[in-house]
Symmetry: C2
Subunit: 700 residues, 2 copies
């Protein structure tokens, strides 16, 4: 047992060398019978049943209790009634068991009593160090270790063909469902883990564990909630370093669900969108449908990488070829015209007379159905073309020489291949040929592969808080007393500490001081009343724009204070902000919100009236570097913000990136700041200025 | 033969009562052998082979030539070498044949010589009245009439189960491919027509014919080009009147594919966005993928309609239920919470203890796997619920009592049903139960069904040109001589004729006249130099904004003309436009462009700098009524333009709709106007004004 001592409890739980099952049954229709039978199917080590009465369970000597077990097994499967579970897990911990897989239902999902039971279970795990999967789960499969600790299949159903794909699912039923589908779709699952109620081990923990395992090459996951974002992000970072694709299918994305999770002010930040943004930032693929999760698994499972984004399409149906080319374009892949020399060489292999195309898509036409050797030669030429980073081919699911040629071609190249077929084909699945039943699905998968092939490790983002700055800003915050919404003038001083360019401005308390300030500032100025009671300045008449010269400033100042006094007699005026009018070719908005799951997120979107009309924004989770911010900016609005004729210049993009990283630093250094809203951020002439700022502080 | 005389040639071609085949072969591996064998499979009437030498072809007496045929058959299939085709078709016409299906390749797709052959074929059809399908097509199937005039299957493959679905495809290979997939997916095809090179009959013609046929309930089509937009629109109108869904899958939507399609069929590919807009306007469903085309066919083939948009989801896997609810929300369906009474009644049928949900999704949990009777009762209650307009249920593809219950439930309700299954199931296909392998696909299909259930006939859009107005506007156009881009002032006068509110303005030629005009107009004004040489006024300094009072107008006028004289000495100034500055809470752009396929299209989108950043716009094909324009406006930017806090008021929406219908009338009355661009259309205070206008006229 000495080597066991050096293994972590989670490792013992998921890769056990010895197993016990409490609640093992002789009755094959009971879950306890199904799971035990599955455990016996492929496990090379000992499986000890624990049973209160039976001497033998399914041919194995049973033990009366956990304490009676002949060894401190690595893992115990538990399928006893809910009220007994906590004591059994505690007994396992006392016996030296590494981890428990709790199948039993009737915990948090069943109401307050179950919730209390589950809390006790969590406590036992925390106190003793035993790791717990479940409760209310379907168990797990580690096909490489021969562990079928689950009832996802019955004992008369075949085991999946093991391979490099790991699927981690919170939902057991769905996991079983999708595993079933995965087998039908030719996906080679080496691991399936359902985490159920996640009393201890959650989806992120399992992914974090599996990403390090050498036999795992692809990580697929399905989750309704992400309980451990830090571990999830760390897993994404490791997945990037190890070049293992990580794909997430998230439930609860519909507008109703997103609306519930939205933070209170920002209409541009919703939880599903935050998750998408986080995945984008850390290189995690988001599957938008169940089939896409499997489709990406299928393209990734052979471990191939693409040298570029050029796909050559081979078809005997012109229409299907056009659809594939269509979807390649929509997915961001290129469908290059083949060089003339290659086209000539292809033409020589084609039937005569030839009415197809050698351009790309290479269309052999239906003529080649009767000429399998021509089809084969053209297919091999296409696969060998220096212009092809990837190969896509169209075929029927019915066996024949064309499909034989495809299998042979796939085995003879290291380029990624995607086949469009009328249906799944056993021949392709046995050979591991990635097969798709729709042109879009094929090209979405190849595009993901290109993205994976191009990425490297994530950028380092070491962040060191600046204690001096924190001190200065906290002094400013103290000035607001118990107010939660800061004055614009205070907000601007805080922004300036974080390198955000703000409009040149001075706060004054007399008309004469305003005139002097306006002279110092120069050009046209705006006047704004600073009052904690007037957060919406324009509604209260507390703003004047475009004043030029002493007379205009004087008149505007007096008129404005009169109007405010008349409309909001109870508002206490702290001063008047004299502010330079800065030009704007474009108005943006930039802010910080705190997501309940992922914490602070920096958002950037279009400003002005459009912030309400257009909800598109880029979101980044700090810390991030300026290059990440610029890359995100390039993604906004399909890139048109950057490439448009009057789009953002290089200098403007740099300035915006600086604003974003500054707000990110602010969010990390000042957890008491609940929300920052810079709107508008005025952009013109290679510069940006925060022309207004709203900062909300949470007290307590 | 007398009744035949009253039938149209197209009807005789597609629903023949007698058939001949020229090029029929005794060799089963030749296309002429395959097609003839297929013709003999199910056709109840005579099929006469024409063969130059053989006395008998596949057991039928052969004739030496078309002229020798014993009767004027309704339809002839032609599979002779390309150079012989035209003469054969001409001989058919002379013999009184109604139509020809030309399988032969080697026409327009094969280069200039083939193009010339095809033109001769078209000429024969036009001159004699014989209708021609193809050439370069795979033929067609009319399963109701027993006509298998194609080689989409070989004679040893089973025929599809006939049903109400018609598929019309330009591409023969793709049509065969998708027909094969359709059969696997349980779609009941009654018709499949491939139109190939469309020398005479095109996709729109066939759809127009089939929409009237009583046995056709659903029309699916795949096209790379739409050659006959008027017939397509007329078909859409009839489909709406007859409540028959029409679904289009269009290839050539990306640049890559457009290139491939060009090389494939040498055809003009219109703008994908225009096609989407036209389909939206006329109620045609656009399938975004091949599988979606089949998915919509599957939901529509049983002819059921939904009374509302409420779907109740039944699942034994919580995760799958959440995904279905998610996708329902994303597709615009509602997933109502079931009334408490119904929930109590459902709970009584559930296993005890019960850890699932009765809310909706109704989650029976895996417990019911062992309790088929409970599953069945709950399923029937869900289907019978007054809260359910539609039912969605999750199941495994493996046979068992759950799937038996689903089949029984489907047969016992008239509500639309969509089943999420791990794979296609023979049992469901035989029973006609609509089955989907992905939650999104199921909900996209149900959402389409709701849209179809809610629609009525398309609005009447009788358009009568106004001769007086046309005369007045042509006089204005004449004033521009040979210039192609009109002066803003002329453009505004033309817009005003079509009810578009334009900024109050006067054109002057002296500074004193400008001052007087500014006084009459009132408030702040803009000055703009009118010159055919200065279409981009701001680049040339030919514009001054916000001038108030005589001094400012005088100074601005003189300064502006000096600047223009210095910067553009060759520009001839026609006058200066004095224009009221109108307020804008929002700037839009509205215009007319002419699509090569669909003709004039009226566009409305965001204006100002954003017209370049955001390409989203609504497009409408005139004529259309104001209500259609308002509905389109409500669709723009996901509805946020209308619902946002500072969005468009009712009066503003009406005013914009009036601008759009006005521009539509303009486009119809004045074919010589190539382009209209109103940017910005300024919106504020319940009114809109065209603040600038660019009209381009095509001469010749």
């Amino acid at each position: 047992m000495t080597t066991e001592e050096t293994r972590s409890p989670l490792d013992r739980l998921l890769s056990p060398r010895s197993i016990a099952m409490v609640g093992a049954s002789n009755s094959p229709t009971r879950i306890g019978g199904t799971v035990f039978a599955n455990l016996l199917r492929a496990f090379p080590g000992e499986v000890h049943p624990v049973h209160p009465r039976d001497e033998v369970v399914q041919g194995r000597t049973a033990y009366r209790s956990v304490a009676d077990l002949p060894e401190a097994v690595d893992m115990a499967v538990i399928a006893v009634p809910a009220p007994a579970v906590v004591d059994v897990v505690a007994a396992c911990a006392a016996r030296g068991v590494g981890g428990a897989t709790v199948i039993t239902s009737g915990f948090a999902e069943a109401g307050p009593e179950g919730r209390a039971l589950q809390d006790r279970l969590t406590a036992v795990a925390r106190e003793t160090g035993i790791r717990v999967i479940g409760p209310n789960c379907i168990g797990y499969m580690n096909a490489h270790g021969g562990v079928m600790a689950n009832f996802m299949v019955t004992v008369d159903e075949p085991l999946p063909t093991p391979g490099p794909v790991a699927l981690v699912s919170q939902s057991g039923g769905f996991g079983s469902y999708i595993t079933n589908k995965a087998v039908l779709a030719g996906l080679r699952l080496g691991w399936f883990v359902s985490t159920g109620n996640e009393s201890d081990v959650n989806v992120a923990n399992v992914l974090r564990h599996l990403v390090e395992r050498p036999e795992v090459g692809v990580l697929l996951s399905f989750a309704e909630t992400l309980r451990n974002p830090e571990v999830f992000v760390e897993t994404a970072r490791r997945a990037a370093e190890l070049d293992k694709p990580l794909v997430l299918l998230k439930a609860g994305r519909s507008e109703e669900a997103a609306r519930a999770a939205m933070s209170h002010t920002a209409s541009i930040v919703g939880s599903a969108r935050v998750l998408d943004a986080v995945c984008q930032q850390y290189g995690v693929f988001v599957a938008s449908t169940m089939e896409e999760l499997l489709d990406l698994g299928t393209i990734f499972q052979d471990g191939r990488r693409a040298r570029g984004d050029r796909v050559v399409v081979m078809t005997s149906s012109g229409g299907a070829g056009v659809l594939l080319a269509d979807e390649a374009g929509l997915a961001g892949l290129s469908v290059p015209v083949l060089p003339e020399e290659e086209q000539r060489s292809l033409a020589e292999k084609m039937p005569v007379p030839f009415y197809g195309s050698t351009v790309n898509p290479v269309d052999t036409t239906a003529q080649t159905t009767a000429m399998p050797e021509a089809y084969r030669k053209v297919l091999f030429s296409v696969a060998g073309s220096p212009s092809a980073d990837m190969v896509a081919a169209v075929t029927w699911a019915r066996p024949g020489p064309a499909n034989d040629a495809i299998v042979e071609m796939y085995g003879g190249t290291d380029k990624p291949v995607a086949i469009l077929s009328t249906a799944w084909s056993e021949q392709f699945q046995e050979a591991g040929v990635p097969t798709y039943t729709d042109p879009r699905r094929a090209m979405v998968a190849l595009a993901a592969l290109v993205r994976q092939s191009r990425r490297g490790p994530l950028p380092e983002t070491g962040f060191v808080p600046d204690a001096g700055r924190i001190g200065r800003v906290r002094a400013l915050l103290a000035g607001a007393g118990t107010e939660t919404t800061l004055l614009e003038s205070t907000g601007k001083r805080i922004l300036a500490e974080y390198g955000v360019p703000v409009t040149p401005e001075e706060q004054v308390t007399s008309v004469e001081a305003a005139i002097e300030a306006a002279e110092r500032i120069g050009g046209a100025v705006a006047l704004k009343v600073m009052s904690y009671q007037l957060p919406h300045k324009s509604d209260a008449g507390a703003i004047r724009l475009g004043l030029r010269g002493a007379d205009a400033v004087r008149a505007g100042y007096l008129e404005m204070l009169d109007e405010v006094a008349a409309r909001e007699p109870d508002a206490r005026v702290e001063g008047v902000l004299v502010q330079r009018m800065v030009p704007a070719r474009m108005e943006l908005t930039c802010g910080v919100n705190r997501d309940p799951v992922f914490g602070p997120m920096v958002a950037l979107g279009l400003g002005g009236v459009l912030v309400e009309v257009l909800s598109e924004a880029v979101l980044l989770r700090p810390p991030f570097d300026a290059e990440t911010a610029r890359a995100a900016l390039r993604d906004l609005l399909g890139g048109r913000l950057v490439t448009g004729r009057r789009g953002l210049s290089d200098a403007e993009q740099d300035a915006i990136a600086q604003v974003m990283t500054g707000l990110g630093d602010l969010a990390l250094e000042l957890p008491e700041v609940a929300e920052v809203d810079v709107n508008p951020l005025r952009v013109a002439d290679d510069a940006v200025y925060a022309a207004d700022a709203l900062i909300v502080v949470g007290h307590g």
